[in-house]
Point group: C2
Chain length 365, copies 2
C-alpha cells in the first residue's frame, strides 16, 4: 500500500513495539501544493508551499495525533476515551474510537462548533455533550473526569498526540529531501501542533535524516491571542473557531519553539484571516477552514511589516515557506457561504442562463 | 514531492505532452483502507478494501477528471468553463478553474445540492446558478450553451474527464502489485466513473502493468435507477444526491463495463444506503457521502442473495473487493446530523457530564 498510515511510515520514531496493534485510517502523507500566485501576491522573494492537512481522513491534522493516542489507549487496555474540543479533535477521536471499537465521549462548547465537525462526531457514534461554557471549561472538566475514571484522555495534553503530530515535520523534510524550509507558518490555538512540528524537526535532525531547521512562525487570532498578549483570555473570540482558545495547553512549548528557532508568534485579525481564506480559495483553488488561513494572513502581515526584506534563503534564490493548512474548508461550510457571493436561481432556459452567468460577452478563445 | 498529482504520476497514460502546463491540486494517490469489521459483517469470504476518494482535494473523485479537463481547457485556449452538477463536479470545476485562473460557471438543480458542495463552488469564485429543473435539464442547457459559445464543457461528457478518472484503477492495481481485486464495487450515477475505472483496468493490462481484470459491480439508488430499469427516469429520487440522475451520460459504457467484466449493475434502496453509510462511520471510522455507501449496500444485497457463495478467489483464500467511496461525508453534513443521535447540552459540572455520557459505570480497565 502506498499509504499505510503514519505510524507504519515512521515507525522507528513512534512509541510502538512489534506487538502494538495499530489503529489507523491511513492518515498522513498529505500533499504539499505549490502556491505560485500566493507567493507573488505576498512577497516576490517568497516561495510558498501549502501543506494540505485537510486531506487527512477526518479532514484535519488532528488525525496524526489521534492514530497514536487511540493506538496507545487500546494497548493500555482502555475501553473508552474522552476529549474536549472545538470540533476537529472530537471528529478525529470519534472516528478512531469507532475504528478501534471502543467508546468515545466528547465535550464541546455550546454553539461554537462548526457544523461539519459536529456532524462527524455524531455519525461516528460518539456521545456528544455540549456544555454551557467555553473550550477551557470543557478541557478542565474532561481532565477531572479522566483522572477519576478509567477513561483515556485524548486531548493534546495526552503526550502520544504530540508524538503522532510530529510526523508532519518528517513529511515536509522528506518532500524537500532533508532540507527544512526557511520558514514554517501555522495557526496557533491550543499550541500542540507547533510543539509537535518543532519536536519533529529536531528529532529528524538529530537522527541524521535532515540537515537544517526552519524558523517557526505561529499566528493566533487577535481576539484569542493569549501567547501574544502574555496572559490567558477568559472569553476568547474569533470566527476561526478551531483556534478560539484562551489558555493553551502547550503554551510554554510553543514559546520554546518560537525562541529556539528564532521565530515569531504573532496575531492576525478576523478580517485578515477572512481575506487570506478567500484568497486561498479564489486564487489557489485550496479550500481550508478559517483557522488554517491564519498561517497565510500572518505571512502577509509580516511581509507588510518588512520582515522578509532582510532575510537570506538557506538554499536557492527564494525564501521557502511552508504554510500548514490544518483543516479542510468543508469542516465549516457556513462560513464559506457567508463569505461568498450568493447563487442566483433562474428558469431552465438558455437566455436566462446567459444573463445569469454574464460570461459570454467577455470571453474569447 | 511524494504526491505530485495524478497526471505526473501516470503521465504516460495521459493525453499530455512535454509542453502541457498541468493544472493540479495534487489529487489522487488516495488511501486504500482495509475494512475488517465490514468484511466480517457482510460475508465471511470477503476481504473488503475502501478506496477513500473523499481524500481528494475537493473531497470527491471528481478531481481526477477535473485536473485533466481543466489542463486541456487551458491548453486549448479556453478562458472559461461550465458544467451542470449535482454538487461534486461543480466543487471540483470551481477549484481547478480558480487554480488555473480562468472563469467557471456551474448550473445546479435548485434545492437538491448538499450544503458542503454548494459552499465549495461559491468560495472558489464560480458563478453558481440554480435552475428550476433537475440535473438532466441542467446538463442539456450546459451542452447547448457550450456548443454556441467559447466555453469549455467540463461535465463527464468531456472525454478528458474519463482519462483522468481512469487513474483510480491504476492506483488500485499498483497498491495490489498488479493483481486486480476479484470485484470492484461502486455507486453509479452519471456512469462516467464506472466507465473510467473499466478503461483504466483494461489499459493497464494492455500495457503489461497488471495481470488481471476485476468483475465490475455498480449500484444505483432504487428511485434513480435508469440502467437497472432499462429506461430514463423523468423525476429521479434519492437522498444520495450525488447519484440522483435519471438519464446517465455514459449509460452504454457502463453496460459495456458490466458485460465485458461479467459483472452486475443493481439497485439499492435509500434505506439500505443509509444503513451502509452509518455502518461505515460507526464500525470502520470512515465518513463518506451517502452515494458512496451504495457500493457497500450493494455488496450486502448481493451477499444476502447468495451471490458470493459460488465465487472463487483468483489469488489467496478470500474474495478481494474494493469499494470506491466516491466522496467525503463532510460534503453533506445535514444528512449525517439527521442520521445520528442528537447531542445533549448540560451545565459545565462533573456530575452532569457523567450522567450525560453514561460511560463510567460500564467501563473497566
Amino acid at each position: 500500500m502506498r499509504n499505510p498510515g503514519l505510524i507504519e511510515r515512521y515507525r522507528e520514531f513512534m512509541p510502538v513495539s512489534d506487538k502494538t496493534c495499530i489503529v489507523s485510517l491511513c492518515e498522513g502523507s498529505t500533499p504539499m501544493v505549490p502556491a505560485y500566485k500566493l507567493s507573488a501576491a505576498i512577497h516576490p522573494r517568497l516561495e510558498i508551499w501549502l501543506k494540505y492537512e485537510g486531506l487527512n481522513p477526518t479532514g484535519s491534522f488532528k488525525d496524526r495525533g489521534m492514530t497514536m493516542a487511540i493506538t496507545k489507549a487500546v494497548e493500555d487496555g482502555f475501553k473508552a476515551v474522552m476529549c474536549a474540543s472545538t470540533g476537529n479533535t472530537s471528529a478525529s477521536a470519534a472516528a478512531y474510537a469507532a475504528r478501534a471499537g471502543i467508546r468515545c465521549a466528547v465535550l464541546i462548547p455550546e454553539g461554537k462548533i462548526a457544523m461539519g465537525k459536529l456532524s462527524q462526531a455524531m455519525i461516528h457514534g460518539a456521545k456528544v455533550v455540549q456544555i454551557r461554557g467555553n473550550f477551557d471549561d470543557a478541557l478542565k472538566l474532561v481532565r477531572d473526569v479522566c483522572e477519576r475514571h478509567p477513561i483515556a484522555l485524548v486531548n493534546s495534553v495526552n503526550p502520544y498526540r504530540i508524538e503522532g503530530q510530529k510526523s508532519g515535520a518528517f513529511e515536509i523534510l522528506d518532500d524537500f529531501e532533508g532540507e527544512a524550509p526557511d520558514f514554517q507558518s501555522m495557526p496557533v490555538g491550543n499550541a500542540g501542533n507547533i510543539t509537535a512540528y518543532w519536536k519533529g524537526y529536531k528529532e529528524y535532525l538529530a537522527a541524521g535524516r535532515s540537515r537544517s531547521l526552519p524558523i517557526m512562525l505561529g499566528f493566533q487570532a487577535a481576539g484569542s491571542a493569549p501567547i501574544v498578549l502574555g496572559h490567558a483570555i477568559d472569553n476568547p473570540q474569533t470566527f476561526a473557531t478551531a483556534i478560539r482558545i484562551g489558555n493553551p495547553a502547550s503554551w510554554k512549548q510553543a514559546e520554546a519553539a518560537r525562541d529556539e528557532s528564532g521565530g515569531v508568534i504573532g496575531m492576525v485579525t478576523d478580517h485578515q484571516i477572512k481575506e487570506a481564506y478567500k484568497l486561498l480559495a479564489a486564487t489557489e483553488g485550496i479550500f481550508c477552514e478559517p483557522a488554517s488561513a491564519a498561517s497565510v494572513a500572518g505571512l502577509q502581515k509580516l511581509s507588510d511589516n518588512g520582515y522578509f526584506n532582510d532575510k537570506t534563503p538557506r538554499v536557492g534564490s527564494k525564501l521557502r515557506v511552508v504554510c500548514i493548512l490544518t483543516g479542510h474548508g468543508l469542516k465549516d461550510p457556513d462560513n464559506a457561504i457567508k463569505a461568498a457571493e450568493a447563487p442566483m436561481t433562474v428558469d431552465a432556459e438558455e437566455g436566462a442562463i446567459l444573463d445569469a452567468i454574464g460570461l459570454c460577452e467577455t470571453v474569447a478563445v
